[in-house]
């Protein structure tokens, strides 16, 4: 079972700072969970006092590991027929979204992403798994460029056939 296989070197990589975003997210989750547990523990007091700390620490360790591995596994490429994505630490997923299928394209920035100076581009299709097609960890300029480029490609392909 090979974990953390590296992505095809020909593909576009994400910005390394995306790891920070992911780590921050897991830290946030750790803080929330640990804090909640701490509060509960104050009231009920059934678990040893250090449980929240251990739990939080565990979440962060797993979060950091996954952030590193996920960054290594992530790659994308704008091909001539569609956008190709490769990602996933445990389950590797490779997705092709043909340009004709693109319904609309967003770029967005969450608070954590703004902190790290990053942005995300989301590609929507009419398919039932639309949420799959998110490209995180782009600089704002790159995210906007990607959005613009995909939009153009989608429009051009639609000119050929509007299905």
């Amino acid at each position: 079972m090979s974990l953390g296989t590296s992505v095809d070197p020909d593909l576009q990589r994400l910005d390394p700072r995306v790891r920070t975003v992911w780590v921050l997210k897991s830290a946030l989750a750790a803080a929330l969970l640990g804090g909640g547990m701490f509060a509960v523990n104050r009231v009920v007091d059934v678990l040893p006092w250090y449980t929240p700390l251990v739990l939080g620490g565990l979440i962060i360790v797993v979060g950091v590991t996954f952030a590193v591995l996920r960054y290594r596994a992530w790659g994308y490429e704008v091909r001539n027929d569609g956008i190709y994505l490769e990602r996933g630490v445990l389950t590797q997923v490779r997705t092709v979204v043909p340009f004709v299928r693109i319904q609309h394209v967003d770029s967005s920035r969450s608070p954590v992403e703004r902190l790290a100076g990053l942005a995300t581009t989301v590609v929507y299709t009419a398919g039932s798994r639309g949420a799959d097609v998110t490209v995180p960890g782009l600089t704002p300029v790159r995210a906007d460029d990607l959005r613009e480029r995909l939009k153009q490609l989608a429009i051009r392909s639609e000119g050929e056939d509007a299905v």
Partner: protein
Amino acid sequence: MNDDSGGVSDPDEATATREGSTEPNIEGDPGPPDAKGDVTDPGAVRSDDAPVDGGAAMPVDEESRALTPLSIPYRSVRRGASIAFTLLFFVVSGSSVIGGAVGQLVGLALIGLTIVALIAYEVSYWRRYEYALTADTFDIRSGVFRRRNREIPVDRIQNVDISRNLVQRLLGIAAVDLETAGGGATEAAVRYVTFEEAKRLQRSLAARKRSVGEGATTDSETTAAPAADILFDLTPRELALVGIFSFDVRAPGLLLFVGYGVVSAGRAGLPISLPGGEATLVLAAVALVLLVAFLSWAVGAVAAVLNYYDFRLTRVDEELQYERGLLRRYDGSIPLDKVQTLTVDDPLKRRFGYASLLVETAGYGAGSSDDRGSQAAVPIASRERVLALVDDLEDVAIGDLERPPKRVRRRYAARYLIAIAVLTGLGVAAERLLVGDPVWVGPLVLVPLVPVAAHLKWRHRGYALADDHVITRNGVLRRQTKLVPYYRVQTVIDSRTPFQRRWSLGTVTADTAGSLSLTGADAAAADVDDETAARLREILVDRLYESLDRRHRDRRIAPPGADGWSGGDEGDEGGRRTVRASDDRRGTDAAAED
């Protein structure tokens, strides 16, 4: 969501008809506090009796129409029945708090007020509700408190469904649902029009869709019912088979839950130990399991027979139309050019040479409780008949499928062995901690079956690339063969779990806009070789573009509709935003439409 179950309204039947006769009174009643009552009477402009005229030869804008006046009493009674329960509780508790005659008087006043308010609401709902077929849209203006204008482009409509429960059939009214690909809920729930009007809408929408798609009016634009080609009807024998093969999977859980409640409620008075000791207990358990199985089957069988009674599938031009149902009657239409996926479902039935066919469009909402999307299909028929129908609809034959590499059998065997090992482990733990009996022996009995199961799983899995379709097959006990036209592929997903990577395998999923795929049953070529997966990924996208190109060319050269497939396709699953609503559909009135 929009499913008004016949069971609820059936007891109201008598009331509904009685109310129906007093209906003109309600309309003229000055009682309802309708603030806008003095505005020009909309009823005068609108034709409510919905004539099935032979006119409208061209797709012109039609006048606005109203719902049938019968919808007022029907809706009032329906809503009243649901409110009654809540109200009854308050009245009972209220009168007991206040007590005596005063309490009862307050209660009665409350009831009266509610009834008046209810009727007033339904009357104004009826007055506000207007719909119109224009040349290329279906418009609805509705809403009592929150007004809403909605325009649905005709060529984006996926399905037009008419349903009538028993009461509605007696009253001659029907509910019409229009589905587009956007959003989860039904885009237009017309509650209620006369049945003739409902059929007329279904026909005109189909005709308009054609003319919009072709960009010109053709001779097919006639309101007279076009020639219907009966593709399929269910013989009584087949209906009986549908019942036999229907096992309500939800029933066992429910029955066990209820049974447990009864048992635990009744146990207070019962001695824990039964006479006869363990043997009786085991017997009782076996009997219980059998009973639950039988009841689940019976429930499923009855439901299936009620659902599929007098099932008929017809082809009208470029549309499939189905009719079915004993108590509640459904008349649905599925435009052939909106079909996303065909699924041939043949689990147990396969043994007996039967199969069923499911037709998926993008129209039915995700997670909606009713699975009409899957029921708009052939419930059961001999396998040859189903395959012939598939061939008829899509011009494709299910040939031999490419099976996964043989090594996957070892993987499946390993998987089953692990599952058995886990169960055995649990059994050992249970023996130590709880029962003291060697219960871990149970799972071990299954070990000899492992190779057989692994082989079967491998045997019933596969994929094929046909001329215009990708065909995939999965499942032994629930075997499904899916046919996806290449041009319906939305995204191609190739995924590999860590276990698959160990065996150099991958699963390639062709995602479509079909609604059933939301439950995870997408067409997937599972456990194919690593390299095959990579190749399939590319091929599917290539074929998608080729297929689109070809369809595009066909449309330009041949007159549309020349073959069975290329009728106006410009309006497609086309996205999530096909409905222009000037309002949030979760507003007051959307809720009121339930």
